[in-house]
C-alpha cells in the first residue's frame, strides 16, 4: 500500500489549481518502480519505409538512471552490451562491450542531441528531466483519448544547453504520467512527436510502448516493452562493467 499521505496530497493538489512547476513536481514525485526488467523490441523506420529491428534485454533502476542493455538480435549485434550510469554532478558514464574485439570501451555522452542507439530518442530524451533546469508553464487542460490531461509547456533554461527550445507535454491527471509530447528545435520548429502507452503493473503505471516521430527527418522509432517485471530487487552490483560480458539467461 502506498503512502496514504502522498495520495491525499496528490488528490488535493489536483482539485486545486496548480501552476506548471507544481504539476511537474507532482509528476517527478509520483511513485515509480525501484527497478524494471523488460525485453524491448526497437523498430526503426526511415522516410522510405525501410526498417531495422533490434531486440534488447534491458535492466534499469533508480528511474532509469542506471541501465544495462544486452543486444539479443539481430545476429550482427548479438552480445553487444551497454551500461549507462547517470551522475548529477559529472558527465554520465557509458560503457560498451564489443564481443568481437573482446574489449569494453567507455563512450562519450557529451553530445546530448545525439541519437540513442540510432533511434529517434536522443540521450537528452532518455535522461530524466531535472526540475531546476527547466521552467514550466501550465497551458489549458485538454482531453486526450477520453482522459483529462494537464498540458505543460517546458522551457529548458539557457544554461543547460538543450537541443530543444521547448516541449509541450500532455500528462494524464489521474496517473500523472506523460502520454504525449511535442519537442521543438532551437529554431522553434516542431522536431519530434512522442507518444507513450501505459500499462498498469503491480500498482505502477509503466510505459510499455513509445512511439517517436522525428518530423524533420521523417524517421520513426517504436519501442515495445514485453515481459516487463518491476521491483524484482536488482542488485546495484549488476551495473558494473564485468556484467556487460555475460549475456544473462533472463
Amino acid at each position: 500500500m502506498k503512502n496514504p499521505f502522498r495520495i491525499l496530497t496528490l488528490f488535493l493538489s489536483i482539485i486545486y489549481a496548480q501552476n506548471g512547476l507544481e504539476i511537474a513536481t507532482m509528476v517527478d514525485e509520483r511513485d515509480v518502480p525501484k527497478d524494471i526488467i523488460s525485453k524491448t523490441t526497437m523498430l526503426l523506420t526511415n522516410r522510405k519505409g525501410k526498417t531495422r529491428t533490434s531486440t534488447i534485454l534491458s535492466k534499469s533502476s533508480n528511474n532509469g538512471s542506471k541501465q544495462i542493455l544486452w543486444f539479443l538480435a539481430p545476429l550482427d549485434d548479438k552480445g553487444v552490451a551497454f551500461l549507462k550510469i547517470e551522475h548529477d554532478n559529472k558527465a554520465d558514464e557509458m560503457r560498451m562491450w564489443l564481443p568481437a574485439f573482446k574489449k569494453v570501451r567507455r563512450i562519450s555522452s557529451s553530445k546530448k542531441g545525439d541519437s540513442f542507439m540510432g533511434s529517434d530518442l536522443s540521450y537528452e530524451d532518455m535522461t530524466s528531466r531535472s526540475l531546476e533546469e527547466n521552467r514550466y508553464k501550465r497551458l489549458e487542460d485538454e482531453t486526450l483519448d477520453g482522459k483529462d490531461c494537464f498540458v505543460l509547456e517546458v522551457l529548458p533554461n539557457e544554461d543547460i544547453k538543450s537541443t530543444y527550445s521547448k516541449h509541450i507535454t500532455w500528462i494524464v491527471k489521474e496517473s500523472l504520467i506523460a502520454v504525449k509530447e511535442e519537442s521543438y528545435d532551437l529554431g522553434g520548429g516542431l522536431r519530434k512527436k512522442k507518444k507513450f502507452f501505459i500499462d498498469s503493473i503491480s500498482d505502477y503505471h509503466v510505459i510499455n510502448k513509445i512511439f517517436v516521430e522525428d518530423v524533420q527527418k521523417n524517421h520513426t522509432t517504436t519501442l515495445t516493452m514485453e515481459d516487463i517485471k518491476v521491483d524484482s530487487g536488482l542488485d546495484h552490483s549488476l551495473f558494473q562493467e564485468k556484467n556487460l560480458k555475460r549475456l544473462p539467461r533472463n
Partner: protein
C-alpha cells in the same frame, strides 16, 4: 491554297492596311500575355530523360544519400594564420548561419567537424570545436588533433592555415540558383573582411544561367543595333529598317509568349527557357529578318521598275509568297523534327520556334506590306532609284559564276572536304569552368580552389553490395587508394571505409597499425553498432544506406576536362573489373557524368534533327517544285554548310556542348531559306522563258542581294564574340560562320550546279517541267 492566301494577303495589305496593322498588333499582344507564364529553368539535370541510366543512378544516389552536388566556399587571407579566436568565431558564425538557411541541407566545416579519439580506453566521438569562443589552449588542442588526422585537416583548412574550406550541400529540392544566391549573400554579410572564393558544380549551375543569359541579352541588343546599322547602310531607308525591326520584335514576342501559354495550358515542363534555349531568340531573329529583307528588297526593286507602290507590293507578294511560305514551312518542319529528339526538352524548343517562324511568315506577308502601303515612298529617294553598293557587287558575282562555274564548284567542294576532315576532330566539353575565359572572376575563384584547396569538382561512385562484408570494405579502401594515387586531379576521397578504419584504430587504443578494415565481419558489425551508440548515425547517412547495401565514394577533384573525366571513369571500370573479385557493381555518378550524357543527348538530338530536317526539306521542296531533283538540289547548300560548320568547329577547337550543338539549327533555318529563294527565282525565270545563259545571273541579280544582305545583317550577332563567356563567343563566331557558309553554299555550290545542269538541255527540261 497558297494562291488564295496570296490574293487575301494582297487584298488586306493594299485595301485594308490599317485594319491589318491593328489585327497584327492585337494578335501579338494576345500572344505576349503568355509572357507572364514564361519560366526560366536553370536545372539542366531536369532536362535529361528519366530513362537515362546515369540519371536513374544519380536520382537513386540523391534519394538515398541526399544531395551530392556541393558548393565549396573558401575564405581567409594570404597573410594570416586562421588558428585564432576571431577567425574561428567568424567560421562558427558563418557555418551556423548557413545551417539555418532553409535552402541548405548540410554544412561541413571545421566548426562542426566530429573528432574520434581514444583517450586511455575512452572512446570519444564529439564536436571538435566545442563552442564559438575558444581559449588559446582549446585552439591548440584543435590544431593538434588536425595535425594527427591529416585526412580531416585537408578537408577543412588549407596547407598554410590561411584559408578555411567549407562544403555546403544545398537542399536537393531547391533550385541551385536560389541556394547559391543565399550562400553568397550570407558570405557577403559575414565575411567582408576576408577574401572569399566559391566553387563546385552546384555553384556553377547556380550562377552560369543568369550570367550567360544577362550577357547574351546585352550582346543580342548590341547585335540588333549592328543589324539595324547594316540594314540602314544598304537599304538607305530608316522607315524600311524600322518595319523589318517591327516584324522581328513581334515574331520574338509571339514566340516567347506562346511558349508561356503552351506551358501553362499543357502543364508541360518542356516549355521552359533554359541555357540551351539561349540560341532560340537569335535563330528566330535571323529568320524573321530574312523574310522581311527579301520582301523589302523585292519591293524596292519592283518600285524602281514600276514606279507604283500598289503594283510593287502586289508583284512582291506574288513573287515571294511561295518562297517565303516554303522557307517558313521547311524551317518550321525542321524545328518540329526536334519532337523526335531523345532529349524531351527539345520538343519545347522545336515547337516554340516553329510557332515563331510561322508568325514571322504571316507578319512578313501581311503586316510588312501593310506598313509599306501606309508609308509614302518618294520615287526619287536613293532607296528607290539607285541600287546599293552591295546590290551591284552581288550582281558582279553572278556574272563571274556564269563564266567559271566548274572552277568555283570544285573550289567550293574542296573547302567542304576540309570540313569533312574537321568533323573527326570535334570534341565534347561539358565542364562549366570552360564557360569562363581566363581572368574572369569566377574562373579565378575556381583556380584558387584548385591551387590552394582540394579542388572545385566532385565525382561520386555508387557501390552495391554487403557493406558489412570486410571484403567489400577493403575493396572500397583499395579503390580510393588507387584513384588518389593514380589520378593527378583527385585531391581526396572519402567513404564508409574511412570511418570503419578510423573507428578500428580508435578502438584498438589509437594504434595506427589498426587503421585498416578488420578482417572479421563481427568486428565490422561491432564498429557499426558502436557508432550508433556513440555518434550520430545521421553522420553515416551520406556514406552508407539504411540497409548497408549501398555506399557512396565521394572524390574531390581539381578542374579537368570532360575527356579526362571519361578516361578517368574508364580506368576505374578497368580497375574494378580486374580487382573487384566478389563485388563489381560500381557505378560512377555525379553532375559531370550526367551532364556528359546530356550533351550526348543534345548532340544525338541535333543529329536526328538535322537528318529528319534534311529529309523533310527535300521532300517538301520536291513536292512544291514538282521534281525530286529540286528536293536534292535544295538540300545541297544546307548539307555543305552543316559539314563546314561542324568541321571548322573541330579544326578551330570549338567544343560541342549543350549551347553550341544546337547552333546547327541556325544553319538549317537560314540555309534552307537561301536555297529555296534561289531555286524559286531560277524556276520563275526559266518559266518566263529567259535564255539559259541569263538565268543564273538573273537569279543572282534578283535573290543574291537579299541573301547577302540578310547574311550580312545577321552577322551582326557576331557581337556575341565580345562576351566574357566562351560559349557565347563561340555562338557569335558560329553565327558569323553560319551566315558565310549558308550564303556561300547557295551562291556558289547551288548556283554553279544549276548553271552546269542548265547547260544540259534534257536535264533542265526534266527539272523545270510545267510551272
Amino acid at each position: 491554297m497558297i494562291s488564295r492566301f496570296k490574293n487575301f494577303a494582297v487584298q488586306q495589305s493594299i485595301n485594308h492596311p490599317k485594319r491589318t496593322l491593328i489585327i497584327s498588333l492585337v494578335t501579338t499582344f494576345i500572344m505576349a500575355t503568355g509572357l507572364k507564364h514564361f519560366v526560366i529553368e536553370d536545372d539542366m539535370m531536369k532536362m535529361i530523360p528519366k530513362t537515362v541510366k546515369t540519371r536513374i543512378v544519380w536520382e537513386e544516389v540523391k534519394d538515398e544519400f541526399g544531395n551530392t552536388e556541393l558548393v565549396f566556399v573558401a575564405f581567409g587571407n594570404d597573410s594570416i594564420d586562421l588558428f585564432n579566436s576571431k577567425s574561428l568565431a567568424d567560421l562558427w558564425d558563418f557555418t551556423t548561419q548557413l545551417e539555418l538557411l532553409p535552402e541548405v541541407e548540410d554544412v561541413r566545416s571545421l566548426t562542426n567537424l566530429n573528432k574520434m579519439e581514444n583517450d586511455n580506453g575512452f572512446l570519444l566521438i564529439d564536436d571538435l570545436v566545442a563552442s564559438r569562443d575558444l581559449s588559446q589552449q582549446q585552439i591548440q588542442e584543435i590544431k593538434d588533433y588536425l595535425n594527427r588526422n591529416d585526412d580531416q585537416r585537408k578537408r577543412v583548412i588549407s596547407s598554410k592555415d590561411n584559408y578555411f574550406n567549407i562544403v555546403v550541400i544545398p537542399d536537393k529540392n531547391i533550385a541551385d540558383r536560389d541556394a547559391v544566391a543565399k550562400i553568397v549573400e550570407t558570405a557577403d554579410n559575414l565575411l567582408n573582411n576576408y577574401s572569399v572564393h566559391f566553387g563546385g558544380p552546384s555553384y556553377l549551375i547556380g550562377v552560369v544561367g543568369d550570367l550567360v543569359r544577362g550577357d547574351a541579352l546585352f550582346l543580342i541588343r548590341i547585335g540588333l543595333l549592328f543589324m539595324v546599322i547594316i540594314l540602314l547602310a544598304s537599304l538607305r531607308t530608316f522607315a524600311g529598317v524600322m518595319m523589318v525591326l517591327m516584324v522581328i520584335i513581334f515574331s520574338l514576342v509571339g514566340m516567347m509568349g506562346s511558349m508561356g501559354w503552351i506551358r501553362v495550358l499543357t502543364g508541360s515542363d518542356r516549355f521552359v527557357f533554359s541555357i540551351m534555349n539561349t540560341s532560340m531568340p537569335i535563330i528566330l531573329m535571323t529568320i524573321a529578318n530574312s523574310d522581311s529583307v527579301h520582301f523589302l528588297t523585292k519591293f524596292f526593286k519592283k518600285l524602281r521598275l514600276t514606279g507604283d507602290k500598289k503594283i510593287a507590293i502586289e508583284q512582291s507578294i506574288d513573287s515571294l509568297m511561295l518562297p517565303i511560305f516554303l522557307t517558313s514551312l521547311t524551317t518550321a518542319v525542321a524545328f518540329l523534327s526536334l519532337v523526335f529528339a531523345p532529349l524531351e526538352y527539345m520538343t519545347g524548343y522545336g515547337v516554340s520556334i516553329a510557332i515563331g517562324i510561322c508568325w514571322a511568315w504571316i507578319l512578313s506577308v501581311t503586316l510588312l506590306p501593310s506598313l509599306i502601303m501606309l508609308k509614302k515612298w518618294p520615287l526619287n529617294s536613293m532607296a528607290v532609284i539607285k541600287p546599293s553598293f552591295l546590290e551591284k557587287l552581288v550582281k558582279k558575282i553572278g556574272f563571274k559564276i556564269v563564266k567559271i562555274p566548274r572552277t568555283i564548284l570544285i573550289s567550293s567542294l574542296l573547302i567542304v572536304s576540309i570540313g569533312v576532315y574537321g568533323i573527326k576532330l570535334i570534341t565534347t566539353e561539358v565542364n562549366l569552368v570552360t564557360f569562363f575565359s581566363k581572368g574572369n572572376k569566377i574562373r579565378n575563384s575556381l583556380e584558387f580552389l584548385d591551387d590552394n584547396m582540394l579542388g572545385s569538382m566532385d565525382l561520386e561512385f555508387l557501390i552495391n553490395g554487403d557493406l558489412k562484408d570486410p571484403v567489400l570494405l577493403e575493396q572500397i579502401s583499395q579503390l580510393q587508394d588507387y584513384i588518389e594515387q593514380n589520378n593527378p586531379y583527385v585531391s581526396t576521397s572519402f567513404s564508409i571505409a574511412d570511418v570503419i578504419k578510423q573507428m578500428h584504430r580508435t578502438v584498438m587504443d589509437d594504434n595506427p597499425d589498426f587503421e585498416v578494415i578488420p578482417k572479421d565481419q563481427q568486428k565490422v558489425n561491432n564498429l557499426y553498432t558502436m557508432y550508433s551508440m556513440s555518434g550520430d548515425p545521421e553522420d553515416l547517412s551520406s556514406l552508407v544506406d539504411y540497409e548497408y547495401s549501398k555506399a557512396l565514394i565521394t572524390a574531390i577533384l581539381k578542374n579537368h576536362s570532360t575527356n579526362e573525366s571519361v578516361e578517368f571513369v574508364n580506368e576505374i571500370d578497368d580497375y574494378v573489373e580486374q580487382n573487384f573479385t566478389k563485388y563489381n557493381n560500381i557505378t560512377p555518378t555525379g553532375q559531370y557524368v550526367v551532364l556528359r550524357d546530356m550533351v550526348d543527348l543534345v548532340i544525338k538530338s541535333s543529329i536526328i534533327s538535322i537528318g529528319v530536317s534534311i529529309v523533310l526539306i527535300s521532300f517538301i521542296a520536291a513536292l512544291f517544285f514538282r521534281h525530286y531533283g529540286w528536293g536534292l538540289l535544295g538540300i545541297i547548300p544546307l548539307s555543305a554548310a552543316v559539314i563546314m560548320n561542324f568541321g571548322f568547329m573541330g579544326i578551330l577547337g570549338v567544343h560541342l556542348n549543350h549551347v553550341t550543338a544546337l547552333l546547327s539549327s541556325v544553319i538549317i533555318g537560314v540555309g534552307v531559306d537561301f536555297a529555296i529563294h534561289y531555286i524559286s527565282q531560277y524556276r520563275r525565270l526559266a518559266n518566263q522563258g529567259l535564255s539559259i545563259s541569263k538565268r543564273t545571273s538573273g537569279t543572282i541579280d534578283e535573290v543574291g542581294y537579299p541573301i547577302v544582305l540578310d547574311a550580312l545583317s545577321n552577322m551582326a550577332f557576331g557581337a556575341l564574340l565580345f562576351s566574357e563567356f566562351i560559349p557565347l563567343i563561340h555562338m557569335g563566331g558560329l553565327m558569323v560562320f553560319a551566315m558565310v557558309s549558308t550564303s556561300f553554299g547557295t551562291l556558289t555550290i547551288l548556283a554553279c550546279l544549276l548553271e552546269l545542269i542548265g547547260r544540259k538541255e534534257t536535264w533542265i527540261s526534266s527539272l523545270i517541267g510545267d510551272y
